[in-house]
């Protein structure tokens, strides 16, 4: 995945968190900030998916992973995915239009 530089001012407390992670993971501070950002982005994208505001394929595209991985991440967090009873009934209505009339 290509990267771009972004000029960004961060509050000191968040920088301290990043430094803590950097020390624990033995990585540099920029890598720690990227990891924390990615973790937050994952949660946000999964939330949008669960609310039906973006699709599975869009979520996979945004997080640069497979659709199977998105399913696994949602399951891990206990987030429900998929249609509800109203969607089911609307699909039934859509199907009835297709069925040949007797």
């Amino acid at each position: 995945m290509p990267t771009s530089p972004v000029p960004l001012r961060l509050p000191k407390n968040l920088l301290q968190v990043a430094e803590l992670r950097a020390r624990q993971q033995r990585i540099d501070r920029a890598a720690a900030i990227r990891q924390l950002l990615y973790a937050a982005a994952t949660d946000y994208v999964l939330e949008l998916l669960s609310e039906g505001r973006i699709s599975l394929s869009k979520a996979a595209e945004l997080l640069d992973c497979s659709a199977l991985e998105i399913h696994r991440l949602a399951q891990e967090r206990g987030l429900p995915l998929g249609s509800d009873a109203e969607d089911y009934q609307q699909a039934q209505a859509s199907l009835k239009k297709l069925k040949p009339k007797k």
Binding site: R53, A67, D84, Y88, A91
Partner: protein, 158 residues
């Protein structure tokens, strides 16, 4: 069908039944985001789906997707719509809420995995007791209200 339906049908063990009863098509983009990337990430279901290609599940190359599709959809769903139009297919199979909302707005015929199972039971392609077992396997993958709606419909078939 899209990636969401493909994954759920595979996990519930329903893919062989659906592909035996109906001619099922997936676009290259769905194959890429489930099978190719899934195998790269070592997901066992990716291998299982790959085995179904050419054994009932067909791949298709979709030309450009219609422009009026919203940015809430990814390349998978966009190519499903394109392939649906191109191949003059009967239905789109998906359980993705964002995609379902778009299909309703565009008035494109669609069904969900739970409804597909009920339809197969109605058609006699799946015996009722087996349909109930499959629905139970789908249960952890779908919302409880959709499960209850499908269960009630299966109950009506007795």
């Amino acid at each position: 069908m899209d990636s969401d339906a493909l994954i759920k049908l595979t996990k519930a063990g329903l893919l062989p039944i659906i592909t035996h009863a109906w001619q099922c098509l997936i676009p290259d983009e769905v194959y890429e985001e489930v099978v190719v990337r899934g195998k790269r990430e070592a997901h066992p279901d990716a291998e299982a789906i790959e085995r179904f290609i050419s054994r009932g599940l067909e791949r298709g190359h979709a030309r450009a997707a219609p422009r009026r599709l919203p940015p809430t959809l990814g390349p998978g769903e966009r190519s499903v719509v394109a392939l649906f139009v191109q191949e003059k297919a009967d239905l789109i199979l998906t359980d993705d809420r964002a995609f379902l909302a778009v299909l309703r707005r565009l008035e494109l015929p669609h069904l969900t995995p739970a409804l597909a199972l009920v339809t197969l039971a109605e058609q006699g392609a799946v015996p009722l007791d087996q349909a109930r077992d499959y629905l139970d396997r789908l249960k952890p993958l779908i919302r409880s209200s959709a499960y209850e709606a499908a269960r009630a419909d299966l109950q009506k078939l007795i």
